[in-house]
């Protein structure tokens, strides 16, 4: 059985019940009011047959587990207009997406977002952009990710956009 140690920090003013209450209120705001929905395409590493040398796969060859919707606080960086290397081809490169998810959301859905997983964000009813997770936010030891130093309560992920040539969902 897993050994548990009670957290008694700032216990004179704050406790697990307060913590749960605030998370409830936060989720009510995030899920009820904001309702930013993302779809996780978790890469099925067992079924995806990759290249023996480079570990690469071709278009539409990435196998993934059944997609799961989850709620998150989403921030998308504004696009950057730049040349594509030195090709003289101008393109507007979409910005990165940073999203934060309550740990409770992840636990309730039973998901774990890893480096390299794909996340879809529906910009309109028909336009969806896919991102690849480049920072899986596993380490939440910092104060920012804890509730006043009490316990960590969310994770922050950074994702970069991917082209359809790499991944395009279903």
């Amino acid at each position: 059985m897993e050994k548990k140690v009670p957290i008694t920090r700032i216990g004179k003013f704050f406790g697990q019940e307060d913590f749960d209450l605030d998370i409830d209120m936060g989720q009510e705001w995030l899920n009820g009011d904001m309702n930013f929905t993302l779809v996780l395409y978790k890469v099925d590493k067992l079924r995806t047959k990759n290249d023996d040398v480079y570990g690469e796969v071709g278009p539409d060859e990435i196998q993934f587990l059944p997609p799961i919707e989850f709620k998150a606080y989403v921030k998308i960086v504004e696009p950057n207009n730049a040349y594509m290397g030195s090709t003289k081809i101008v393109q507007t490169e979409p910005g990165n997406m940073t999203f934060s998810v309550y740990n409770r959301e992840l636990d309730s859905l039973g998901i774990d977002i890893d480096l390299g997983d794909y996340v879809a964000y529906y910009e309109t009813e028909t336009k969806v952009r896919y991102y690849s997770v480049v920072n899986d936010g596993k380490i939440t030891s910092d104060l920012k990710h804890s509730y006043g130093g009490y316990k960590a309560f969310y994770k922050t992920y950074v994702c970069t956009p991917v082209s359809y040539n790499e991944f395009r969902g279903l």
Partner: protein, 346 residues
């Protein structure tokens, strides 16, 4: 063992042309679909030649599809990027990798093609062809002249943008195989234009928190030349020739041919200057010498080949190769003396 890709399903029935026949064939390429003169080859034609070369000779396939080539040279006018109907755009209308792009360095330098460098000064015109003409009354010819083409070096960067190392490998293999003999050729309006591989560099975007893709740049130098129709010269040739001949109408009697005299007898005068009393001479003919006259001479002694022959003789017999010495005693030593002999060849 891999199965060879290049399979000849039939053998050519007509042998390929070589030597002068091949040169005639190349000339026909240059004049194809046009006038007798070659067509202009200017910057845009060379650029198109490079695009065609990349599309055809550096063609690669990825995942069963041909990797598209951006079929224009990207310029400063951004809208021109979208004049082509590119079918490899993503949801943002950005070009979706993998694709190949050709970038030309704007500056075009004077060429390094050895056969054209600073050889003919002052744009001198050279005969190219004589073209028959007919003005409705008579046949004529036009003379076509062209100057030496101007060599140019154009630097191109061919860039492959892709997401996978395998695509990089495939393109790299194709380029290196094509340029294994240092240069390859593109075909521009009937002319073979050499292209040299200069350098390969990498510009891949590998930042952690950016969309990642490979960019590899292959720098080529096209050793081209410019042929400008504006510089051609067409001038009419001579269509009529008037030949004028002039003759001397006076009749002249043919004269007898004269030859220099070749007598059998001739005089041999010997002169003895003041202070000289001896005469020495080698004769290379056989003759009889007969005394004719003398002046201011008392006596004379004759030696042949160093042997004394006689004094005051009136005839001497000489054989070819003899050395004749005649020593005299003068009457008056302060005056010149002379002795004359008549030679008769035997």
């Amino acid at each position: 063992m891999g199965f060879p890709k290049k399979i000849k399903k039939y053998l050519p029935l007509q042998p390929e042309k070589v030597l002068s026949a091949r040169r005639e064939e190349l000339l026909n390429y240059i004049r194809e679909d046009g006038t007798y003169l070659p067509k202009s080859v200017l910057h845009a034609d060379l650029d198109r030649g490079m695009l065609d070369f990349v599309s055809n000779e550096l063609e690669i396939f990825a995942n069963g599809k041909k990797v598209p080539v951006v079929d224009i040279i990207i310029t400063t006018q951004n809208w021109s990027q979208f004049t082509e109907t590119w079918n490899f755009q993503d949801l943002d209308n950005n070009v979706s990798p993998p694709f190949i792009s050709v970038v030309r360095q704007p500056e075009v330098k004077y060429g390094s093609l050895p056969s054209l460098q600073y050889t003919i000064p002052n744009r001198k015109q050279f005969y190219y062809a004589s073209v028959p003409t007919w003005d409705g009354q008579r046949n004529g010819m036009d003379i076509y002249k062209i100057p030496q083409p101007v060599p140019v070096d154009i630097t191109f960067s061919v860039k492959i943008i892709c997401n996978r190392m395998r695509e990089l490998n495939t393109f790299n293999k194709t380029v290196l195989q094509t340029f294994s003999s240092r240069q390859a050729y593109t075909f521009v309006k009937g002319h073979y234009v050499p292209i040299i591989l200069d350098n390969i560099s990498d510009e891949s975007v590998m930042d952690l928190e950016k969309r990642k893709y490979y960019i590899q740049s292959y720098n080529f130098t096209m050793m081209g030349f410019l042929i400008d129709e504006e510089e051609f010269e067409v001038s009419p040739a001579i269509s009529r020739v008037l030949t004028v001949m002039e003759f001397d109408t006076e009749l002249k009697k043919g004269g007898k041919k004269k030859y220099p005299e070749n007598p059998d007898e001739f005089e041999i005068p010997l002169t003895y200057a003041v202070g000289t009393t001896s005469f020495t001479q080698n004769y290379y003919f056989t003759a009889d010498l007969s005394y004719i006259s003398q002046e201011n001479i008392d006596t004379y002694d004759i030696y042949i080949n160093g042997d004394y022959y006689g004094s005051d003789l009136e005839s001497i017999q000489l054989t070819s190769g003899d050395e004749l010495v005649i020593s005299i005693t003068k009457d008056n030593a302060s005056l010149e003396s002379s002795l004359v002999w008549q030679a008769k060849l035997l």
